[in-house]
C-alpha cells in the first residue's frame, strides 16, 4: 500500500481544491432553491419549452417545481461535469506523470512489480473519486437538511451512485490511455470528458443518436432518466463496465511491457 498512500498524499491538494469548488457550487445550488421555488412553476414551464435545449439537458422531462427535479438538473451538472473533469485529470495523469516528471526511473527501480504499481495507482484514483463523491454527498445532505427539503432518499442515492460510476468509468478509461502516454495528457483527459458530455447531449436530442448513450458514461448518469425511471439503465451500465474493463486491461498489459526511456 506504499504507492497508494504516496499517491493519495501527492494528490491531496488537487482533491481539496476540486472538492472545495464542487462543494461550494453544490451548496449554492441547493441553498438558493427555497428562494427560487416560488418562481419555479413558471420557470419549469419555460425551461421545458425551449425545444432542443431542454431536450439536451433533459429538462423536458423534469419538473423544476420539485426539489428533486431542480437538483437533478443543477447539481447533476455540477457534480456530473465537475466530477468527470476531476476523474479524467486524475486518471490520465496517474501513470504518465511518472514519465513526465522523470520519476518513473526512481519508482520502477525499486523491487515493486509493474502490475503492483498499476494496481496501487488505480486504487488511489478510485479512492480519490470515492472521497470526492462521499464528501460532496455529505455537503449536499447537510444543505438539503438546512433548507428543510426531504427528497426521495432512494432517488438521491441513485443519482449519487450514477455520478460515482460515471466518474469511475471516465477515470479508468483515462487511466488506460495514461499507460500509453510518455508525458502528461491533461488535454486528452479534459477533451475526452468534454466529448463524453456533449455526446450525451446529442443523444438526448434525437432518436437516431440515442445509441451514443452506450458510448458515453453520461448516458446512464442522466438525471432526467434516473428520476423518471427510478433506476439506472442496465444496458448503458453494462456498456460502461465493458469500456472500463478495457481500460483496466489495457493499462496492465501496456505498462508491464513499456520501455521507460
Amino acid at each position: 500500500m506504499t504507492i497508494w498512500k504516496h499517491e493519495l498524499r501527492a494528490g491531496r491538494a488537487s482533491l481539496c481544491v476540486w472538492f472545495g469548488a464542487i462543494a461550494f457550487l453544490l451548496a449554492v445550488c441547493v441553498l438558493i432553491y427555497p428562494e427560487m421555488a416560488g418562481q419555479m412553476d413558471e420557470m419549469s414551464e419555460t425551461f421545458s419549452q425551449m425545444g432542443g435545449f431542454s431536450q439536451a439537458f433533459g429538462m423536458d422531462r423534469l419538473n423544476f417545481g420539485e426539489f428533486i427535479g431542480f437538483f437533478g438538473i443543477e447539481c447533476g451538472n455540477v457534480l456530473g461535469l465537475g466530477g468527470a473533469l476531476f476523474a479524467a485529470l486524475t486518471g490520465i495523469a496517474a501513470l504518465s506523470k511518472e514519465e513526465e516528471g522523470h520519476t518513473a526511473e526512481f519508482l520502477l527501480t525499486h523491487p515493486v512489480s509493474r502490475p503492483r504499481v498499476v494496481a496501487e495507482k488505480l486504487c488511489a484514483v478510485m479512492t480519490q473519486i470515492i472521497l470526492l463523491n462521499a464528501a460532496a454527498a455529505a455537503v449536499t445532505y447537510l444543505c438539503i437538511a438546512a433548507i428543510g427539503e426531504s427528497p426521495d432518499g432512494k432517488t438521491m442515492a441513485l443519482l449519487f451512485l450514477a455520478y460515482l460510476l460515471m466518474q469511475a468509468e471516465i477515470a479508468v478509461i483515462c487511466f488506460g490511455i495514461s499507460a500509453f502516454l510518455g508525458r502528461g495528457g491533461t488535454g486528452i483527459g479534459l477533451g475526452l470528458a468534454a466529448v463524453f458530455y456533449f455526446l450525451n447531449m446529442i443523444a438526448n436530442l434525437t432518436e437516431q443518436a440515442r445509441f451514443l448513450k452506450y458510448v458515453t458514461p453520461f448516458g446512464y448518469a442522466e438525471s432526467a432518466d434516473i428520476i423518471t425511471e427510478g433506476r439506472l439503465e442496465g444496458k448503458y451500465l453494462a456498456a460502461g463496465a465493458f469500456f472500463a474493463l478495457v481500460g483496466v486491461i489495457a493499462a496492465f498489459i501496456r505498462y508491464a511491457r513499456k520501455d521507460i526511456g
Binding site: 506504499t2 504516496h6 516528471g101 520519476t103 523491487p111
Partner: protein, 304 residues
C-alpha cells in the same frame, strides 16, 4: 559468482542507438567502471539491466537471475543512482528516503541519517529547493541506505564538488570491502582509473574492451616524450604523434632496442617513456572505430 553477466545483449529502440551484442561480465565483489562517451550506450545498458527497458535480443543475469523473469528479486539487491536524479517535487528529502525504504519494506532511517551527515545533506529540505548537487546526494543516499549487494551508479559524481566526491568514493570503497559489488558508468577516466579494479569501454553501443584497469593501462604501447627533436624517428609502430616547438610525443609499440637505437643519433635533450593513461587508450578507441572490434582486444586489452 558473477554479479552481472550479459550475453549478446541487444537493445534497439526509436531514434536511439541502443546497444549491440554486448558481452559483459562483472564478478561479485568487483569495483567495475563502465566507460564511454556520451551517447555510447552506458545508460541504455544500465536501464536494460534494471528492467526499465526490455532487451531486443540476448540475455542478461544479475547474481545468476534472469533480468526478465526475476526483476523484483534482482531489484531488491540493487541500489541504483540514475544519471539525472529526479524526485517528487513536493516532498522533503526525508520523505523521499522513507518512501524508497518503504518500497523495499525496510527501515533504513539510521543508515540514511548517517549517510546524510557524511554527505552533508539536510534531510528537512524540500526537493524542489535542492541544487543539482544536493539532489544528486539525495539520490546517492537512496541508492546506498538499504546496503544492497550491487550498486549500479550512472555517472555518479556529476554535479558533486570534489570533497563530496571523495567522501562518496570512500563510502563506496567501504561497501566494496564489505563484499558489495560496484558498477559505475563514467566518462571521467581518471575517476575510473583511481577507484575501479576492472573497467569496460563501450562505444556506439558495442563493447570494445573489458579487463583489469592496470592491464588496460599496461599495454604494448608506450607514450614517448622526447625533448630536443621536433619529429619522431623513422620507425614502424609509431602513432599519435604530437609535435611541439622543440619536443615530440608519440605512442610506440615495438621493440625497445629499436627505439633506443633510432633515438641514439638524434639530439635528444630529455626523454620519458611511460604507460599511456586510460584517457589515451580511451581516445584511441574512440577515434579509430574500424580497427578495434577484434575478440582478442576484448579479452586481453592489449589493443594499443
Amino acid at each position: 559468482m558473477t554479479a552481472i553477466l550479459t550475453k549478446q545483449l541487444t537493445k534497439s529502440y526509436g531514434r536511439n542507438r541502443g546497444i549491440t551484442e554486448l558481452d559483459l561480465c562483472v564478478h561479485d565483489g568487483d569495483f567495475f567502471g563502465f566507460i564511454g562517451p556520451n551517447g555510447a550506450g552506458k545508460s541504455t545498458t544500465i536501464r536494460t539491466l534494471l528492467g526499465l527497458l526490455s532487451p531486443t535480443a540476448g540475455t542478461a543475469e544479475i547474481f545468476g537471475r534472469d533480468i526478465r523473469g526475476d526483476k523484483r528479486e534482482i531489484l531488491s539487491e540493487i541500489g541504483y543512482l540514475p544519471s539525472e536524479t529526479m524526485f517528487y517535487q513536493g516532498l522533503r528529502v526525508r520523505d523521499i528516503l522513507r518512501f524508497s525504504a518503504d518500497l523495499r519494506g525496510q527501515d533504513c532511517r539510521k543508515e540514511a541519517a548517517r549517510l546524510c551527515e557524511r554527505l552533508e545533506l539536510d534531510m528537512s529540505r524540500k526537493i524542489r529547493e535542492l541544487s543539482l548537487g544536493n539532489r544528486k546526494k539525495a539520490g546517492i543516499v537512496c541508492a546506498l541506505q538499504h546496503k544492497p549487494r550491487l550498486y549500479v551508479l550512472d555517472e555518479p559524481t556529476s554535479g558533486l564538488d570534489p570533497l563530496i566526491q571523495r567522501e562518496f568514493y570512500a563510502v563506496l570503497k567501504e561497501r566494496n570491502e564489505e563484499g558489495a559489488t560496484v558498477f559505475l558508468s563514467s566518462h571521467i577516466l581518471s575517476e575510473v582509473q583511481r577507484y575501479c579494479s576492472h573497467a569496460a569501454m563501450i562505444r556506439d553501443g558495442r563493447l570494445l574492451v573489458s579487463d583489469r584497469v592496470e592491464r588496460l593501462g599496461h599495454t604494448a604501447a608506450k607514450r614517448v616524450c622526447a625533448g630536443g627533436i621536433c619529429s619522431p624517428p623513422a620507425l614502424e609502430g609509431i602513432r599519435n604523434v604530437k609535435k611541439g616547438a622543440s619536443s615530440v610525443s608519440f605512442l610506440y609499440s615495438g621493440s625497445p632496442q629499436k627505439l633506443l637505437a633510432a633515438l641514439a643519433p638524434l639530439p635528444v635533450t630529455d626523454i620519458t617513456i611511460a604507460e599511456p593513461d586510460l584517457e589515451e587508450i580511451f581516445l584511441h578507441y574512440y577515434e579509430k572505430p574500424q580497427s578495434h572490434t577484434g575478440k582478442a582486444e576484448k579479452e586481453g586489452g592489449n589493443a594499443i
